[in-house]
Symmetry: C2
DNA sequence: TTGTATGCGTTATCAT
DNA sequence: ATGATAACGCATACAA
């Protein structure tokens, strides 16, 4: 491995001068600067990150803690994170961990000395007890219940999205609106459920417990939940699935049961994954700016990393957008996937 | 930050002893061992990775280079990688890079001193010139053209998969079988195209250039390509999309054009993403063991990292599996999503 | 403008 | 069984 010493020897200068040139710190003569850069390039010298971080106390790396889930949503979030991190000269150390407190804390400790901060996506994390991690470590909590202790948080406007789409269904005349929930310990799922109830009550409708089923955020769960809902008497006229995966499973179940969508049953999802518009019928849903979510989380973290972690905690929320397609029966005029 | 010195002082021993205890290297008395472990736990001491890697020349970290693409495929691959890496006590440093040679080489240099090896997924990488990276760095090339120089490679059996599904269409009586390709510079796409042609020729069918369109591996591309294919005279009776995303776009286009699937047009995809079975009709496709792909890549890399990078290059291939559902008209008896 | 010397946190070598 | 200390590669305060 070629070190700074090799470059120094080859260029006939001291290591200090090489360091100065490569970091732009301190004065150097034009001539030696050029020679050193030439040698460094020729030898393909790259500073050893570990050694550098030892003395600068910076790693130029951000940790990312993901829950034990998967799907298209995550690759989009990571995309937004990596783009933003790279633009600022940072790397991403990604790790999946159990979403509970212990898993998060363990993973964070394992990252000590390797990262300058952590974005932790842990929807199952309660807001109760403080997170037991090194105090100096900047942390941004993503899609988790905002908390008082030393962590910024970035969440989706789940309630707003739920209210928008359920409100839309109500305006279309539906009164028996079922919901396929995610796990209630999941923050996003709980908030979407809350928005659903709020929207119903605002319209003078009392939420019917028999119309609330759980689908675990998976296609299979949505499929099974829809079959359950078809047995409820009187049958609901609309189904709001708390994410698109479950909505797609539900569409499949309804199709196989001979229930026409949207004529006999309106269906709506949440997330607006790319495939949503290609469903039959195209899925009405709530758009979540997934890429921006990741990008913004990294921006918030970088702010903490650079300006110290001691100032006031930030709580931000990305807003959602109602996307009306045909599955809810609104009869949007356009039928092309560009809608 | 609590260092090994803090632990040593608190426990009344030297740093050397602490190091021995925590690494299980060298002899220590039962008593001091316990005391040190107790102190380390109480102080929440975690060794500084950078400092450690400086002397051990190991980082316990693997680099992952991803192409500038996204979708469900990648999160599954990462899942497999992270599971395997964690099981062996390794971290994952993930970075997206341009898929061309320069992007790969730049990204690999940026990882110097931070990783013990790299899994590079760069389907656009040609097999022509050798990769200009530090010779000692173990590299596993994923989904790229296998090459002679110092890198192991792991690929999907694209040709086998294509031959299987195209052969299936042929056995169903189709002779005019169109293909929606991916970009030809993409290794997977090129291999799937090759398998398609081989299968046709094996059945005595001459591939018709007017039946080959490109869809760029996206839903929108598949949608547009299907519309093009509907204009070809005489019209094809089957469409093989080189991935499921394009197949789903094609299904949508056919539906809106009033073309019944599979009666008037058989459709098949490639990948078997989770949503494939929830399409209408459920999508026949070729299953790619995505999770296993990531897991195996990391296993191969760890082998290089541990046994040195100098022995013979390995080339492995994961096999695919034909998944017959209803979109190709085979009329599989089962209609439930469990199929 | 450049060089020397020190220390970052850890492991490894050599004493004891 | 344990301690003192060198070394890893680098940045930087200080000297020249």
């Amino acid at each position: 491995m070629v070190t700074i010493k090799d470059v120094a020897r080859e260029a006939g200068v001291s290591v200090a001068t090489v360091s100065r040139v490569l970091n732009g710190s301190g004065p150097v003569s034009e001539l030696t600067g050029q020679r050193i850069r030439e040698v460094a390039g020729r030898l393909r010298y790259v500073p050893h990150g570990g050694a550098r971080s030892l003395i600068t106390r910076k790693t130029q790396t951000l940790g990312v803690l993901l829950p034990d889930l998967y799907g298209e949503f995550f690759s989009e979030v990571i995309r937004g994170m990596d783009d933003t991190a790279q633009r600022h000269g940072f790397h991403l150390l990604i790790s999946r961990a159990h979403a509970d407190r212990h898993g998060i804390e363990t993973a964070m400790r394992a990252m000590r000395g390797r990262v300058d901060g952590v974005v932790a996506m842990s929807p199952d994390l309660g807001a109760d007890a403080p997170l037991d991690v090194p105090a100096a470590l900047p942390v941004v909590l993503l899609c988790s219940a905002p908390r008082g202790d030393g962590a910024d948080s970035l969440t989706i406007d789940n309630q707003g999205g739920s209210k928008a789409i359920v409100g839309h269904l109500i305006r279309l005349g539906h009164t028996r609106i079922a919901i396929i929930k995610g796990a209630s310990r999941n923050y996003d799922a709980a908030e979407r459920m809350r928005g659903y109830r709020v929207a119903l009550r605002a319209a003078g409708i009392t939420p019917d417990p028999s119309l609330a089923t759980e689908g675990g955020f998976t296609e299979a769960g949505g499929y099974a939940a829809a079959l359950e809902l078809l047995k409820v008497k009187p049958r609901p006229t609309a189904i709001f699935a708390a994410n698109d995966s479950m909505a797609i499973g539900a569409l499949s179940a309804l199709r196989e049961s001979g229930v026409r969508v949207p004529e006999e049953m309106a269906v709506a999802g949440f997330d607006d994954i790319p495939l949503a518009r290609y469903m039959d019928p195209p899925l009405s849903t709530v758009r979540v700016p997934t890429y921006e979510l990741g990008a913004r989380a990294v921006e918030m973290l970088l702010h903490c990393v650079r300006n110290g972690n001691d100032d006031a905690r930030r709580r931000e929320r990305v807003s959602t957008e109602l996307v009306v397609r045909r599955s809810c029966g609104a009869g949007s005029a356009r039928r092309t996937p560009s809608s």
